[in-house]
């Protein structure tokens, strides 16, 4: 029997601090769904999703009720569709996206990730067709998310792909101008993309995974923020050092991870599929109190973006991993603090107040997961500049052996300081200015590759 202090602390964590499991994502291999024609392949894909994910939502609800811990998002990640559709044209890929969308709606999941390709070391004709299909596919569907891996520490960065994708981002936004360019929020460009990430928009069921897996994303930053506030209030008479606060984050991360693992393994058991990983990422939501930005402020900078912000994110990110690693048998995915501007009200406020800029966000992404995420920029920013922003972020990931990503929304018709709202979990934000836009075209026109980095002399 646990002691009453442990019981009461746990009750507090669940009730007041809104402990939940942020995402249960079923990874489904579609490798056996390829048929002679697009239509037959779509049928096979839908049948497979129904077969394995048909009960996913119901089982998540059941386990969540039993344990009294909400499972916020139920999702599906599939084998990168470029592998399934190779040989089809862009129109064929759009049909596959529609089939994925229909299947997702029918089984009741929130999103499906995996309209994806890996072009880190070069592009196949199939990859090229998939990339061409991304704007119509995402604008013609509700739940499908796309991602392209353009670089890796092993292979370097594919600048030809990045040159294409700057335009893809522009097209996505332009074709969804009526909803603030929202389609761009469902597309993310990666370097070192993991194949077991349960979070959208970058979830895929990579090659080298089991046929079907359950991956879970742990609870959001709110639990960590409340634990830190409580620690600071309780120990106000003592001189708390940052190491003490790091320790508090670590302990809380242990608890949060444990809950995620327990629920995820139970869901996998009931569905009779294998359990994959717990992703330790702290994913904010636009809700007040569930923000990584708030943690940055709690840890001592008055405005986000002020000097010290990057160091705080580094401390947070590392402490979460240390707590989570011991708590879980298998940690994977992105596993780091997210700083998605629109989805985090404190970060969005900082952008609106002009204290947080793209450049500081970029610095912060070098010490945390996952990159320049959900940042609304002026619709007038040219494709080459977007490509160059992507290249900068990819370079951080490639050189530092980590995952980085870019999800920018060039909001059509809006300029820096204007406001955009996407609603729901996608949040809202002021449009962030892009300094020196239009000055990078010659760099992008070179194309080719940035060679893989040296693996010694690491400084």
């Amino acid at each position: 029997m646990l002691n009453s202090g442990e019981i009461l602390n746990t009750v507090e964590m669940i009730q007041k601090e809104n402990l939940d499991v942020r995402a249960v994502t079923m990874g489904i291999s579609l490798l056996d769904c390829r048929r002679e024609t697009v239509a037959a392949s779509c049928q096979a894909i839908k049948a497979k999703i129904h077969k394995f994910a048909g009960n996913l939502v119901a089982v998540c609800e059941e386990v969540s009720t039993e344990y009294g811990i909400p499972v916020v998002n139920k999702r599906i990640a599939v084998t990168p569709v470029a592998h399934i559709g190779a040989g089809f044209d862009a129109a064929g890929f759009v049909e596959i996206a529609k089939a994925l969308d229909e299947a997702s709606s029918e089984v009741g999941v929130d999103f499906l990730g995996g309209f994806s390709a890996d072009v880190a070391n070069g592009m196949t004709p199939g990859d090229r067709e998939l990339i061409a299909a991304i704007p119509p596919a995402l604008n013609g569907t509700q739940k499908v998310c796309a991602s392209v891996n353009v670089g890796s520490t092993r292979y370097g960065i594919n600048m030809d792909a990045i040159a294409l994708l700057g335009q893809t981002v522009k097209d996505l936004a332009a074709q969804s101008a009526a909803i603030g360019g929202f389609a761009a929020a469902k597309f993310v460009v990666f370097t070192n993309q993991p194949g077991d990430n349960p979070f959208m928009a970058g979830a895929i069921h990579g090659l080298g995974q089991n046929e079907i897996v359950i991956n879970v994303g742990v609870s959001g930053p709110g639990v960590i923020a409340r634990a830190l506030e409580r620690k600071i209030a309780q120990d106000s008479h003592q001189s708390l050092g940052l190491h003490d606060l790091a320790e508090e984050i670590k302990r809380t991360a242990f608890r949060v991870t444990r809950s995620g693992e327990l629920i995820g393994r139970q869901v996998a058991k009931v569905l009779n599929v294998s359990f994959g990983v717990v992703d330790l990422s702290l994913a904010p939501t636009p809700k007040v109190g569930d923000s990584v930005g708030e943690i940055i402020q709690i840890l001592g900078v008055d405005v986000i973006g002020a000097p010290g912000s990057t160091a705080i994110v580094a401390l947070l990110n590392d402490a979460v991993k240390k707590g989570g690693m011991f708590a879980s048998q298998s940690v994977g995915g992105l596993s780091g603090a997210f700083i998605p501007v629109c989805e985090d009200h404190a970060l969005a406020d900082a952008v609106r107040n002009d204290t947080l800029h793209l450049e500081k966000l970029e610095a912060m992404t070098s010490v945390c997961s996952v990159g320049l995420d959900m940042i609304a920029i002026p619709g007038s920013v040219d494709a080459a500049t977007i490509s160059a922003i992507i290249a900068d972020e990819m370079a951080i990931g490639m050189i530092n052996n980590k995952t980085t990503a870019v999800r920018l929304i060039p909001v059509p018709g809006k300029e820096a300081g204007d406001f955009v709202s996407f609603g729901g979990l996608f949040g809202e934000s002021a449009i962030a200015p892009v300094l020196n836009a239009g000055q990078s075209a010659r760099f992008i026109e070179f194309g080719g590759k940035i060679p893989a980095p040296i693996h010694s002399l690491r400084n």
């Binding site: 646990l2 019981i7 669940i14 344990y67 608890r255 058991k269």
Partner: protein
């Protein structure tokens, strides 16, 4: 033919002082009693213990009571002891299944009848209380109950009724699976 041993449940209460457990266990030892299980607790300076022990068939309940009374006579403070023969059927009752064990906490301003009200709710829903303790937290009186939920009762129905109960009584009540508490506080993950 050797007769099988007899099992007794013995409870002892006394003002706490050094040596109570030795005083009691010495009595049992002298009667060739073998202690199988013990729970012991001290509350506000009062000691209480309940134990299960087996004795040779020749030892009667009266024998045990008499010897405990002798120990009481020599003890620093009064030892109030009760002895009863354990019912075999009760002793072999299956332990509750881990998936049915929940923690119920109820908190509110301390007042007369709070325990009766909460335990009344449990009785009405055929919820067996396995362990009960109380604490004061942030000025509130908190009851912490480890309960065994009847597996034929739907957890959803209990939660719904619990919400009404909380509303009627002004208590804050939380029902949460015990595995969650174990998962976040213990080294081992409680996998099924």
């Amino acid at each position: 033919m050797v007769q099988s041993p007899r099992h007794y449940v013995i409870s002892v209460m006394s003002r706490d002082h050094v040596g109570i457990i030795h005083e009691v266990s010495k009595v049992l030892q002298n009667l060739n009693g073998n202690i199988a299980d013990v729970r012991q607790s001290v509350l506000c300076g009062y000691f209480t213990m309940i134990l299960l022990a087996s004795f040779p068939a020749s030892v009667t309940r009266r024998d045990i009571e008499r010897k405990l009374a002798e120990a009481d006579a020599h003890s620093e403070s009064v030892l109030e002891a009760t002895v009863c023969e354990a019912d075999q059927a009760t002793m072999t009752l299956a332990a509750p299944r881990p998936e049915n064990i929940y923690v119920l906490t109820a908190s509110g301003v301390d007042r007369v009848g709070i325990v009766a009200v909460v335990s009344g709710f449990c009785e009405k829903h055929r919820i067996n209380i396995l362990d009960l303790s109380t604490a004061i937290s942030n000025g509130d009186y908190v009851m912490i109950l480890l309960v065994n939920l009847n597996q034929h009762v739907s957890i959803n129905a209990v939660r719904t009724d619990l919400q009404c109960f909380a509303h009627e009584t002004g208590l804050k009540v939380v029902l949460q699976h015990y595995d969650i508490f174990k998962a976040v506080n213990e080294i081992n993950l409680p996998l099924r």
